[in-house]
């Protein structure tokens, strides 16, 4: 295998064998079948819906299966303002998702509380769940969401999945 490459192919080897790293194979599978769960809490969810529609078409990147059940999804897109009262539910839904799982904080509110500098609003969803990708905007355009999800795919590509399969993901 050439150094730096994730897979190697030699036409002289009989039977069309492709050599690769286990990590690369697992990550390739995972990143192209991200099942997002829309945690739509405010206006960001409208942009999230637009990203799922035909104009922006989230399925071009292999993550169109929006699952409304945490049991069947592996990427929670927190789209909107998280209040302290809602924070418990957000965390509980995150806990119900099966490993491996990722979180995208979509928009200013989910990332930092945004314009809601108030007694009722959680100042960033990273206080209750580990966030992988933050997307700026109020609300972000669907293109920004798609870009954020592609960043997540790149992040998944770099993960050490084999280690976590044996030891458990921290």
């Amino acid at each position: 295998m050439a150094s730096g490459s994730e897979y190697g192919y030699n036409s002289k080897v009989e039977g069309n064998v492709v050599v690769t790293k286990l990590d690369a194979a697992i990550n390739w599978v995972r990143k192209n079948s991200v099942w997002p769960m829309p945690m739509g809490l405010a206006c960001c969810a409208i942009e999230l819906m637009a990203a799922g529609g035909s104009r922006f078409d989230i399925s071009r990147f292999g993550m169109e299966v929006m699952q409304f059940s945490p049991r069947q999804s592996d990427c929670m897109i927190v789209a909107g303002t998280v209040t302290y009262k809602m924070a418990e539910s957000v965390r509980r839904i995150y806990d119900q998702m099966a490993e491996p799982k990722w979180v995208v904080a979509m928009g200013a509110c989910a990332s930092s509380g945004g314009m809601y500098r108030s007694y009722a609003t959680l100042q960033g969803v990273d206080r209750i769940v580990p966030v992988d990708v933050y997307i700026s905007g109020c609300p972000p355009r669907p293109e920004a969401l798609l870009d954020g999800l592609m960043s997540l795919q790149k992040k998944i590509e770099r993960e050490h999945s084999t280690v976590s399969l044996i030891k458990g993901r921290s």
């Binding site: 302290y84 009262k85 924070a87 418990e88 965390r91 509380g113 314009m115 809601y116 500098r117 108030s118 007694y119 009722a120 609003t121 100042q123 206080r127 209750i128």
Partner: protein, 205 residues
């Protein structure tokens, strides 16, 4: 409201006084009498619709809280307001009107949640917006917009994540939207941009 109706009402309730209001006719009433006034307005004067129920914190040592009722007449298309001052400024109490208008149920819960005014004989008086265990009433004038440090509402999340309710960062003042200028100038932003997390507020130097 017709002048003769107004005269009939004030004759029936001599304590009632007209309250200065630039939008619609309004009255000052008392805690002991207001419910009868509202019932009369509803049953005899056609103000059948409870348009609004809210409260005001005047931030004064005496007569601090007043509850405001706005009624609407579907036939004459008129509003009437009734303003009731709570007697106690520390633990204000007032009679519930949820039996006259079922819609008052949630309005009274909201007023109870945010102002801490207790509505007697309410069917289910509990917080509606903040979580049950929250110890403060956020719309009172002595409560800061940023909030006060409190325990996180959920036990297990608090234990695992070690999070608590902290005052929100108020650098630059609260976010406000402008009312004039171009669309970009009207976008919500920190009111006073001369200070932030790193640069001190000029007046506190």
């Amino acid at each position: 409201m017709l002048d003769e109706d107004k005269a009939a009402l004030t004759k029936q309730f001599p304590e009632l006084s007209v309250r200065e209001n630039c939008n619609y006719l309004a009255f000052n009433s008392s805690v002991s009498e207001f419910k009868k006034v509202l019932e009369t307005l509803k049953d005899e004067f056609g103000y059948t619709f409870l348009s609004n129920l809210t409260a005001v914190d005047w931030d004064t040592p005496e007569q601090r809280f007043s509850v405001v009722y706005v009624l609407y007449n579907m036939e004459s298309f008129e509003y009437v307001g009734v303003n009731v001052v709570c007697e106690d400024s520390e633990n204000p109490e007032i009679e519930s009107v949820a039996d006259l208008w079922p819609a008052a149920d949630w309005h009274e819960r909201e007023v109870y949640d945010l102002f801490g005014i207790k509505f007697n004989n309410h069917p289910d008086l509990k917080r509606i917006l903040m979580w049950e265990e929250y110890p403060y009433h956020p719309l009172r004038k002595d409560f800061p917009l940023a909030g006060k440090p409190t325990e996180f509402p959920s036990d297990d999340v608090r234990e695992r994540m070690g999070t608590s309710v902290k005052p929100a960062p108020m650098a630059g003042g609260p976010f406000t939207a402008g009312t004039c200028g171009s669309m970009s100038a009207r976008e919500p932003r920190a009111k006073d941009q001369s200070w932030n997390e790193k640069k001190e507020k000029p007046s506190e130097k």
